[in-house]
């Protein structure tokens, strides 16, 4: 009897500790989500005395987004291209840097400090200032390699991505600070004796990387892809963010339309992450 009481008490304590989250989730996440879903099917008017007038218009907002408003679909496509190009570059760079930092080198801490620096200072207004001044493009790089001239003869679908990556190299790299740490933590956890055993068996560093290191950090790649997508999707300078916010205060479209756009955006992001996860899981099974 006493034991039963104890475990009930334990449960109550558990709920007490997470109660801030529980309340917050219900009132600040779940309810707003439902509310915005509701708004997305309405024409919303805000009156001066902060009253909200809604008029049910079924799927009109969504239809407008896809068939009338050219800018939205276009920006969504642009963002998709941005994701497809940036995410692999960020992941590969983060992994390379983490591998370098994990090797026996001097001044490890110094380099770690540098690679984490962008996490500290990256805000959209700072990036904006830097891109406007051309400070996010390496001058030396364009001197050595004239990328646009080089790619001029290439097919557009290859030239464009290459140009994009080179023109945005610094901003892409600046988004990899946290991912480096995630990989580094994973690399440090791999048992050293595994490496030693492989070396005794005559494996080269190359083989060790593909056969031991990469499988060991496979789950972290998924974590980092998800994190990168979230990071890029929240960034105010991505092509979709400004459109959603501008429509909130646009008299002809308003909160209802903006809500519809934000739901399309949500589903788009979940779809992106979902498809990626599906692919990796299937590949993992083979």
């Amino acid at each position: 009897m006493k034991k039963f009481k104890n475990s009930t008490l334990k449960q109550i304590y558990g709920y007490l500790f997470i109660s801030p989250w529980l309340l917050g989730f219900i009132f600040l996440t779940a309810y707003p989500m439902l509310y915005s879903l509701y708004l997305s099917f309405n024409k919303v008017k805000i009156t001066a005395d902060s009253g909200i007038i809604t008029e049910f218009i079924k799927f009109d907002n969504y239809k407008y987004a896809f068939f009338t408003d050219v800018s939205f679909v276009q920006s969504l496509v642009n963002f998709l291209i941005q994701l497809l190009l940036s995410v692999p570059v960020i992941i590969v760079f983060a992994l390379v840097i983490a591998l370098l930092l994990n090797s026996k080198i001097k001044m490890k801490n110094f380099f770690r400090t540098i690679f984490f620096l962008p996490v500290i200072i990256t805000s959209s207004s700072v990036i904006n200032e830097l891109t406007q001044q051309g400070a996010t493009q390496l001058p030396g790089l364009s001197d050595i390699l004239n990328i646009s001239a080089l790619t001029a003869t290439w097919p557009v679908y290859i030239a464009q991505p290459v140009n994009y990556i080179f023109n945005n190299l610094i901003t892409i790299l600046w988004f990899s600070g946290i991912q480096i740490l995630v990989f580094l933590a994973g690399l440090q956890k791999i048992n050293v004796s595994m490496y030693e055993a492989a070396k005794i068996d005559g494996a080269t560093s190359w083989e060790i990387f593909w056969k031991i290191t990469l499988p060991a950090i496979q789950p972290l790649i998924i974590v980092n892809v998800v994190y990168t997508v979230v990071l890029l999707s929240a960034f105010p300078m991505n092509p979709v963010s400004p459109i959603i916010r501008d429509n909130m205060f646009n008299i002809s479209t308003g909160f209802g339309y903006a809500s519809a756009l934000s739901w399309v955006y949500l589903i788009f992001l979940l779809g992106f992450v979902g498809i990626y996860a599906l692919f990796t899981v299937r590949r993992g099974r083979d």
Partner: protein, 316 residues
């Protein structure tokens, strides 16, 4: 000649040279090391390049700026850009406001994350796994979807145009990237041995005392990571803050966004050429915006690094 010489060299000697250059067991060799350092320095330079650019250009006067010969080393150090940027950003009041908003939100977020993380790590209750997964899924919901209904709610409740529109979500576990902080605390609290708590309970402590007296002091690394990251993210946030705060509160990055307009107000299209807005003044403004963060980072950097090494930053 060469042939005979290489023939003379004993195979052991060759192997030794090869080992030094290309590396063998447990080392990368000279060539490998050179390659690694070259890569690190190269990538490090790419990372630092924009910062160097800001620093150098913010100290150029008009003459240096227009002179194509002057690229990396200004002919003399010139601080007037900073004076102007200082005025344009309305620096001291803006900095005070920024710190006020950021610190309040951060403290709320860190405290609530520690409580929630502890609850998930240390107790079993009905629906725990479900709630835990739900919490992680909320990390995927973009701010853009939540901000519209929250804006309307906050408007009704009178939370707009005040720090409360950041403070309230942070208190209730729904702040900026908060799922990540809850995870960090969750991970740390799971590492603390249960026996410690049980011993305290036998001595008659209740669950909250155990949490406050025994578990919290052991959670310093999680506090350090969460505090620094949360602060940095709230500081750099402009999308939500410009929506929720309107013109009532201006943080430094928000002020930087409207730098050009503010400048024109202060120095109406300069009769004096040197008073016109130029890149140098804008770079000075950018540096002033990130300077407080940089200072804080270099102070806590070592502490932060050690904390990250002991807890890690994501699950498992």
């Amino acid at each position: 000649m060469e042939r005979t010489e290489s023939k003379v060299k004993s195979p052991e000697k060759m192997a030794k040279v090869k080992r030094i250059l290309l590396g063998g067991r447990g080392s990368y060799g000279v060539l490998g090391n050179i390659f690694i350092y070259m890569l690190l320095i190269g990538i490090g330079f790419v990372y630092l390049y924009p910062l160097l650019y800001i620093l150098v250009n913010s100290m150029k006067d008009l003459e240096d700026l227009l002179n194509p010969m002057v690229k990396w080393i200004p002919t003399h150090i010139y601080f007037s850009n900073y004076e102007k940027a200082f005025k344009v950003l309305n620096y001291v009041p803006t900095l005070t406001q920024t710190l006020y908003v950021v610190l309040l939100s951060t403290i709320a977020q860190v405290i609530s994350s520690s409580l929630i993380g502890y609850g998930f790590a240390r107790y079993n209750f009905k629906g725990k796994n479900f709630f835990f997964i739900l919490m992680i899924v909320t990390f995927l919901i973009p701010q853009q979807t939540l901000m519209i209904p929250r804006f309307l709610m906050f408007q009704k409740l009178g939370l707009l145009n005040s720090v409360l529109s950041f403070f309230v979500p942070a208190t209730f576990g729904q702040g900026l990237n908060q799922a990540l902080f809850i995870l960090i605390f969750y991970q740390l609290f799971r590492m603390i041995p249960k026996s410690l708590e049980e011993a305290a309970k036998i001595d008659g402590a209740n669950d909250f005392t155990v949490f406050a007296r025994i578990s919290l002091p052991l959670a310093t690394p999680a506090f350090v990571i969460s505090f620094v990251l949360s602060m940095v993210w709230y500081w750099n946030e402009t999308y939500l803050s410009s929506l929720y705060f309107g013109n009532a509160i201006k943080t430094l990055p928000m002020q930087l966004q409207s730098f050009v307009d503010s400048y024109r107000l202060l120095f109406p299209s300069g009769a004096v050429v040197t008073d016109r807005l130029n890149e140098s003044v804008r770079m000075a403004g950018t540096l002033l915006t990130i300077a407080p963060l940089l200072i804080i980072y270099f102070i806590v950097e070592r502490w932060l690094r050690e904390s990250i090494d002991s807890v890690g930053i994501t699950g498992e």
